[in-house]
Amino acid sequence: MSLVLSVFEQGLIYAIMALGLYITYKILDFPDMTVDGSFPLGAAITAMLITKGWNPFLTLPISFAAGAVAGMLTGLIHVKLRVRDLLSGIIMMTALYTVNLRIAGKANLPIYNMENIFDNKLVNAIIPESLSQFKTVIVAFVITMIVKYILDWYLSTKSGFMLRAVGDNETIVTSLGVDKGWIKILGLALGDGFAALSGCMFAQQQRYFDVTMGTGTVVIGLASVIIGTTVFKKVTFLRVTSSVVIGSLIYKACVAVAIRMGMQSTDLKLITAVLFLLILVVGTERKKKVKSTC
């Protein structure tokens, strides 16, 4: 039971980061490595603010804003300084490692026994005692759904249309008299804002910040996005954003099963890598099949 619960808790929290990568990787077609730094950035800010006694709900918008600034910087490096997409992300990711250490003050900052978004007076008052063990899942679900619906709404606006257009066909964005560079910067800001928001929630669920907690986040996010978009390709009633959330849950479930089958938690990165490779291979094979039927 606790295993299933933790799959849902972490799957939902990581889903927000996966939605961010969906924006950058799928919509913008930009491999954004910044996420490995912006995810722990959200966590570092959150741990720092909570130890200072801030209201835990305030950490959500603050983390989002900080992540958005990081993404914007990656975008500026790429667009204005003309550094290649992958490298601009790696530069920011490396820089953020130090920034995160500075914010938290040390490599590991625990926030046990403090109020957080999953455990505070307000949540305890709303959720009855009998459901107390589901508190984290319920709060994570609510926040993830809010984020998902905001993203759905945004993608249906004129500004969202431009974001989709720039990943689809840059030429048309220019033809419409819009600077494609700023649209990319905006998309990266959103993507890394989501990653930091996800990191903020993860730190509160784990009740600590660790400077290495961001390593491999991009891979987890990409795996979730690819699982979600390939598995549910044919399911028309599901929005792509919902597929990505479910993809994140499936990914966490796969990892949980692997660990249950006797793998050590130190093997986690290897499991992640193998799983990701598997998903990529299976995912692209499907694509080929679709093409050949045309």
Partner: protein
Amino acid sequence: MLELQHIHKFFNPGSVNEICLFDDFNLTVKDGEFVSVVGSNGSGKTSMLNIICGSIDIDHGQILIDGKDYAGKKDFVRSRQIGRVFQDPSKGTCPQMTILENMSIAENKGKPFNLTRGVNKAHIDYYREMLAHLNLGLEDKMHTPVGALSGGQRQAVALLMATMTPIDFLILDEHTAALDPKTAEIIMQLTDQVVREKKVTTIMVTHNLRYAVEYGSRLLMMHEGKVILDKAGEEKKNVDTEEIMKIFNQISVECGN
């Protein structure tokens, strides 16, 4: 009115691969003209369009639109006055977005892309009418991603999109070259119809000499960065394809083609 004055453009300046594309190139296009441009490969036709649209920068010279110099302005700034249809049908539309969404962004050109709804439901009937006008059956496919359409259908949508908002110039860059002969014919007739209806100043680059002779009010032939033939008005009406073909063959022989 569009005036290209004393345009100089070198590729790879200062290196052994230095290529002079334009050396003091001049061209004036009057309002309402429909200029067809022909010429061999490498004659500078497409580069000329790229220079007008700002896709490539010039070394010297002026690009005057109604007397205002646009040289040095960013491509997306110039795009606000210019509609462009490319040779590659995938360049004029967004493949993953539906016809409806594509037309919605095209109609919003020149206005801010803000947080209001992307598709204006009140305009759907208007779009449908425009699509029905094409006679390609697209009015029933408004929720289909454009990527699922054929090249000709996509080019037709691209043409509609390029001319939806008021523009000063329509730039057609070999826009029928990637299509089969029958579809190319349909798109060409459609182009003529749109240009007449909107009375928009048009520059069309084509490899099809017959189109260049049949359509448009002025014919230009380019060779090695120079205009070597320029016929407008009555003169243009009396030009026939064979005559153009003869001149064209002559310059091609010089190039060794």
